[in-house]
């Protein structure tokens, strides 16, 4: 089955991102295709490489990056939501004259059209939120 995943909450405060990660991992292990994971609302905060949890806890951002590397997974952060919350890649840094960027490996910033397109292409869109 072709799946699309939507993550609407940030890391740690809510379980949504953990659940989305476990679901995506299980779906890939069972041979399903995950065409895109889209991060919206506070979900964009999953995509900052500055995340530094205590060492005895899971590293939610690195975990997504690892999964993307192993499965060539498309992790897309919504640009409008990211701009509001300070999640920045090199292009956005240049465009908005910021002094840094913080996008994590394996994530890319793009528009909401990527979410709609995933909804059209996938057999199922599975959303994780509060």
């Amino acid at each position: 089955m072709k799946l699309a995943v939507l993550v609407n909450e940030g890391p740690y405060t809510h379980q949504a991102s953990d659940s989305a990660f476990h679901f995506t991992t299980a779906a890939l292990e069972q041979g399903h295709e995950v065409i895109r994971v889209f991060f919206y609302h506070d979900g964009v905060n999953n995509g900052t490489r500055l995340t530094t949890p205590p060492q005895d806890d899971r590293h939610i951002t690195d975990r997504w990056s690892d999964l993307a590397r192993r499965h060539d997974l498309d992790l897309v952060v919504c640009v409008a939501a990211a701009q509001r919350r300070g999640v920045v890649d090199e292009d956005e840094q240049r465009r908005n004259g910021k002094d840094a960027n913080n996008i994590a490996e394996g994530f890319r910033i793009s528009g909401l059209g990527q979410l709609i397109e995933a909804g059209i292409q996938a057999d199922r869109m599975v959303a994780f939120g509060d």
Binding site: L6, N8, Y40, H41, A80, A81, G111, L112, G113, L115, I116, E117, G119, I120, Q121, M125, A127, G129
Partner: protein, 141 residues
Amino acid sequence: MSEEFTSGTVKKFLYVNRRAPHGSNYAQEGLEVALIGAAFEQDVAMAYLDDGVFQLKSGQDTGKIGTKNFSATYRALGDYDVKRVYVERESLERRGLSQEDLMPLVYKDEDDDWEEKPLIHVVSAEEMRRIIDESDVILNF
């Protein structure tokens, strides 16, 4: 956009809005998705239930809380080819509201000499269940 992947496929998108317009920005960002999504020539409908019915309340004023009053943006739904906005009657009644308290949203019907027609349909919880059941892609904000 990757039109080569999406052209020809028309799915029933339903945006389910369950939260109050202020207090969190789920409503504002949910509306942004719906308006972007409408440009993809899909069959787009909006559903408002629970506290989400407050999103369509007329006369919103955010001056004293210092947040953006985006309620005028709902009037754009009709311009973006969204022709169906469903509001759950039970959710309205539980909050002491009726359709008269909501913004008079309209769309221009191209099949009827561009006559302005009401966008909002107040439906029962049972009808709302059926509308959700018949949708292909459901985004819940």
